[in-house]
């Protein structure tokens, strides 16, 4: 079995474009599309830090964008080189850089087919098979956090991690009271390291403050910062789990694991272990359309329930956070990035509901104006046109009613293309939570796309929204 370093050595010599956009002339069309400023520009600056995150991000983004203009054969060759080199790099560096790289990995893994399958598969390994902290280190972490060795605190404790969490790893264990649990343990110091990285990143980016895309880059950085800070705070995650769990009844077929506070701290999170498989394994067993639809409905029920009944925004839709259980239940297992919806955002959602429900263009335009602070000035017509198309893409599965084919690749790509186009034209200025919502939107759509689900979203939304008590009588369909 070759080591990662040997594998890396065996690959062709790295070329500049593997780590970043090339310095040489770029294809004319790329220039014409003004691709540099965002997000490529953002990743370019990120690369100043030399982080793996930046390298993977830049390599991926550039390659992906460039790939659209290359002939298939060359594209294929470049894909193989870029993806494997980066995947190996990531795997090889996981021990110490796991936090940052996993974030990129998980985000990219949300885009099946658009991100090449080969790369997604390599990144999937990161979700679940990252090289673990060794037992001696893990034991010290548990001792530090819980005050004793794992073998004394638990009836049993598997030395080998069964999953890599984004910022640590997860071990199977059994409590002395008999419960089967999953113990998530964070790599020492990673939380503060990441916070310092982000601070440094801001410092590095200060010269860019005056540039046109500063606000956008800053928003993305803020989004990343908030996300990482939340994900490294296991106490907060425990609180979110405790809040979310009672929202689901047994007959919902949706389960959120129970937390065991006596065995949990800011760096160690002990929760009920649910048995099930992740999306790829679930799909590998060729489930029927009906089964896939059923799980897709549960995913949407879970999301809406958390949002409308719990006022929790589940921002981390990626396949590693969901378990497809044998008995047909859906396990929602990771609450590392869940935001509590404050009154301001709640009122925004309240305002958006009309457009989401009616699907009328005038409602949509009003919603976009409100969301993005855009006026009726003719200079904003392009912004409004794109915003309208994108919002329509986001919401049509809900307002159209009837069965919606989430497995339609053209439809999925349309949304992605629209979003990229908005980014390129710097039309993304909006409420601070926009990056999170965009990512979440693509997250759940990507999961339903992979499930090739054909379901009617409207009744699910209507059922779940009732709990809000909003007066929707003048626009909602009355059943």
């Amino acid at each position: 079995m070759p080591t990662m370093a040997e594998l890396l050595e065996a690959l062709p010599e790295p070329t500049e474009e593997l780590a970043a956009p090339p310095r040489g002339p770029v294809p004319e069309m790329l220039e014409a599309w003004s691709l540099r400023p965002v997000p490529v520009g953002w990743f370019r600056r990120l690369r100043v830090l030399g982080t793996l995150q930046a390298q993977v991000g830049a390599a991926y983004l550039f390659h992906w964008l460039r790939g659209w203009f290359k002939d298939a054969d060359e594209n294929k060759r470049l894909l193989a080189e870029t993806h494997w080199r980066n995947a190996i790099r990531v795997l090889d560096s996981m021990s110490y850089l796991r936090g940052a790289t996993m974030k990129v990995g998980q985000t990219l893994a949300n885009f099946p087919d658009i991100v090449p399958r080969q790369f997604v598969e390599a990144l999937d390994r990161l979700h679940f098979d990252a090289p673990p902290m060794h037992w001696s280190l893990l034991k010290e972490m548990v001792h530090n956090e819980l005050g004793d060795d794992p073998e004394h605190l638990f009836a049993s404790f598997d030395r080998r991690a069964f999953a890599a969490a984004s910022l640590g790893q997860v071990h199977r264990a059994q409590l002395k009271t008999g419960e089967e649990v999953a113990v998530k343990i964070q790599y020492p110091g990673i939380a503060r390291t990441i916070r310092e990285d982000i601070r440094n990143l801001f410092l590095f980016m200060l010269p860019a403050r005056l540039s046109r895309d500063w606000e956008n880059a800053k928003e993305q950085l803020d989004d990343l910062r908030i996300r990482l800070e939340r994900e490294t705070d296991y106490e907060l995650e425990a609180a979110m789990l405790a809040k979310a769990r009672p929202l689901f009844r047994e007959d919902d077929g949706i389960v959120v694991p129970r937390v065991f506070p006596q065995h949990s701290t800011a760096r160690v999170l002990t929760m009920e272990r649910l048995e099930g498989v992740h999306l790829d394994q679930f799909l590998a067993a060729n489930p029927s359309q009906q089964t896939r639809n059923e799980f897709a409905r549960k995913i949407l029920h879970a999301w809406y329930r958390l949002m409308y009944a719990g006022r929790l925004y589940y921002a981390d839709f990626h396949p590693g956070n969901f378990l497809f259980m044998d008995d047909g239940r859906l396990g929602v297992i990771d609450f590392g990035y869940v935001m509590e919806i404050d009154d301001e955002v709640w009122n925004l959602f309240r305002t958006m509901d009309r457009a989401l429900t009616t699907g009328r263009r005038e409602d949509r335009l009003a919603a976009i104006r409100h969301w993005t602070w855009t006026t009726d000035d003719p200079s904003n017509s392009d912004r409004m046109r794109l915003g309208d198309q994108f919002a329509d893409w986001c919401w049509r599965s809900r307002y159209c009613g009837g069965e919606f084919d989430f497995g339609d690749e053209a439809d999925f790509r349309e949304g992605f293309d629209l979003f990229l186009e908005m980014v390129r034209r710097r039309h993304t200025r909006a409420r601070p939570i926009t990056p999170m919502i965009s990512r979440q939107q693509f997250g759940w759509r990507a999961m339903l796309y992979q499930l090739k689900a054909k379901i009617d979203v409207a009744p699910i939304a209507e059922e779940e929204i009732r709990v809000t008590g909003w007066d929707r009588s003048d626009y909602a369909r009355m059943e």
């Binding site: 902290m133 060794h134 001792h143 530090n144 956090e145 390291t193």
Partner: protein
């Protein structure tokens, strides 16, 4: 009056207990030999019969804790090897070296904050092997490290250079730990993990080079 060995041992222990208590309460810098003597209820002159300096008292405390750590590590190691069933994976070299240092850190924890004083004098790589009675500690530690390295089939690599490099890294980790302000000194764990990964990487690569060299020569 003849002072028996038993009385001597008791006095010595009283001094150590008093010092540990004062170092913890006042800090190493603030506590004087006079304070220690007073706390131990002996004359200052008597204290000097046992320990020439305050640093020597600290070193003795550290050495005794170290000896306990060594015992603990040996016991844990034999228990690990006894309990290794088919399902348990054997420790890697890196993992075992980590476990060794982790055991030491746990035992030295009460002395962490004034470890610097011992590091600056007796444990420094610049100090000669015979100085200040630190040699036994260093020798014992490196002996254990050699044994671990040998257990993992790398005995050829455990040269004096390798051990010196290890000792320097180990002292670096101790120095970092003594000043580590991170929550529960978690940064030290990360530093130790990465330092040992580096050392083991060097050690095993070094072996490869030697093999290549000898086969080529």
């Amino acid at each position: 009056m003849r002072v028996t060995a038993q009385t001597k041992a008791a006095t010595r222990q009283r001094i150590l207990d008093a010092a540990q208590c004062l170092f913890a309460a006042q800090g190493f810098e603030a506590a004087t030999t006079r304070d220690i003597a007073r706390e131990a209820e002996i004359a200052v002159g008597t204290l000097f019969n046992y320990f020439p300096t305050k640093e020597a008292v600290a070193l003795c405390l550290v050495s005794e804790a170290y000896a306990q750590a060594a015992e603990r590590f040996a016991a844990d190691s034999s228990r690990e090897s006894c309990s290794t069933g088919d399902s348990a994976e054997p420790f890697t070299l890196e993992e075992e070296l980590f476990a060794h240092v982790a055991t030491v850190l746990r035992k030295l924890k009460p002395f962490r904050k004034y470890l610097t004083a011992v590091l600056e004098t007796a444990l420094s790589p610049l100090t000669s092997d015979h100085a200040d009675g630190a040699a036994p500690l260093r020798t014992a530690h490196l002996e254990t490290v050699s044994q671990i390295i040998s257990r993992h089939g790398q005995e050829q690599s455990a040269s004096s250079v390798a051990l010196h490099l290890y000792w320097t890294l180990f002292l670096g980790v101790l120095a970092f730990w003594s000043k580590d302000a991170s929550p529960r000194q978690e940064d030290t764990l990360a530093l130790l993990d990465q330092s040992l990964a580096m050392f083991v990487g060097w050690l095993t690569t070094g072996t490869k080079h030697t093999e290549n060299h000898s086969s080529g020569g």
